[in-house]
Point group: C2
Chain length 299, copies 2
Amino acid sequence: MAVLVVGSTAFDTIETPHGKRERCLGGSATYFSLAAKLFTTVKMVSVVGEDFPDEHRELFATHGVDTEGLETKPGKTFAWSGRYSADMNSRDTLDVALNTFGDFQPVLPESYQGTKFVFLANGAPGTQASVLDQIDASAFSVADTMDLWIDTARDELGAVLRRVDGLILNDEETKMLTGESNLIRAGRKVLEMGPKLVIIKKGEHGSFLFSNYFQYALPAYPTDQVVDPTGAGDSFAGGFMGFIAECDSLSLWNMKRAMAYGTICASLNVEGFGVDNLVAATRNQLERRYQELIQFVSL
Amino acid sequence: MAVLVVGSTAFDTIETPHGKRERCLGGSATYFSLAAKLFTTVKMVSVVGEDFPDEHRELFATHGVDTEGLETKPGKTFAWSGRYSADMNSRDTLDVALNTFGDFQPVLPESYQGTKFVFLANGAPGTQASVLDQIDASAFSVADTMDLWIDTARDELGAVLRRVDGLILNDEETKMLTGESNLIRAGRKVLEMGPKLVIIKKGEHGSFLFSNYFQYALPAYPTDQVVDPTGAGDSFAGGFMGFIAECDSLSLWNMKRAMAYGTICASLNVEGFGVDNLVAATRNQLERRYQELIQFVSL
């Protein structure tokens, strides 16, 4: 089965202790797609400006990412610039120009109708809701969010949470959303807000999965060289959703395996600049890391 | 097999968001012993003052903790007082009176000779070295340490690391000891300093085990109510070493299982004040949590 993603496409300028890259291909929909394409075909809904080069469109096409839903609008593409701290645990945003992404109103092409697996990357809850209006009621939908929306659009976010099947967010966002400092309690509290599935990403400390029926903890794949953390969360989501869509099964066992592929995609991604490693990744490489991860975490 | 521990015995005055306790039984050797006694007999080497009450000695005795090595010296018992932050991720030390622990010179009683499993709780590296001089060369020895010694006694600590079989320390201490912010690299760097086994404790994020032959990651037991974090690290060490000593085996499988019992002992401990929960714990309770942990972490 294919997976559909709605999110941003951007030009990222990234500075880490390992170097600097100017205007590389980025954005949540980009990272998600280039991870999910390792498992299944991806249908992307996003927006760019007239400065978006054909080579990026071709990159998507050659990797099985359908860009019929990638709208080109007059003006420029969303551009972001940031600098990571020495230990890469924090970053400063140096510049953001939303440009054409500023009033992004996603419209699903006819050909995307009926997609059973949908990821709403981080975005305004109102925009996420407009996507939920356009997909099948039976689709398995998972949303991401961020501190900004928890802070400024809590009611709208609450409405989205009552409609989606799953929520992926990081530990700080989970604490902020629930007011709970204990992540186990916090995870359960998010379940009460609506989603049947809650995934809490903890970066190098791994991830939790909460449902009303089980809880699961997975350490992160043991990456010993982080080059550029940009897109780690979206790569995780891409690996998770891509694997779920490939299996077309929501069994407990598949959920756990999908978490493993999520951390593996994130690990590959952060070991290189921008999307370099996702573009170069092979399924064999994933499977090798999957076996390593099993060794690393098996009791 | 029995396990031997050398460390502190103290009166702790603890304030957490859940309440305050005055002068309760504490210290690294105490927490370690009351966790390890769930698996095997414990031989304790520590020091107290004349104010140390008989009821505490009786508590140790009824729980299979041999206190022949618990020296009583003129003066008072080590006393510590601290207050935890609202999320309990940090604490302020309000008062420390080392008292009789100030010039602790551990002497192993004759009856402790030949103990095959030895834990050197956090203490001055010189003191730890004096214990290594007194134990069998074939004993399996594991040390703890802290930021103070990494900072002020790095050479002496380095000498201890070249002599012990294992080191248990937390994530911040590992970064400080190695100058590495990536814990995977940091863990490997500690191995180069001498120990064949390095365990990195990450609190709620679980723990890592490093050896030259394998790496292992275990999430923490999912505790949803932390009442008092005091002694978590020593309870972990007590569960780990207690289980290893009980099995009398250093196989990979036992090491992993010992990590699990370590996090389980730590989880029980932090869910109550002081040593309350360790004193009340039963082996059945441990086994129930062990099964829960397997469910929680199994891929």
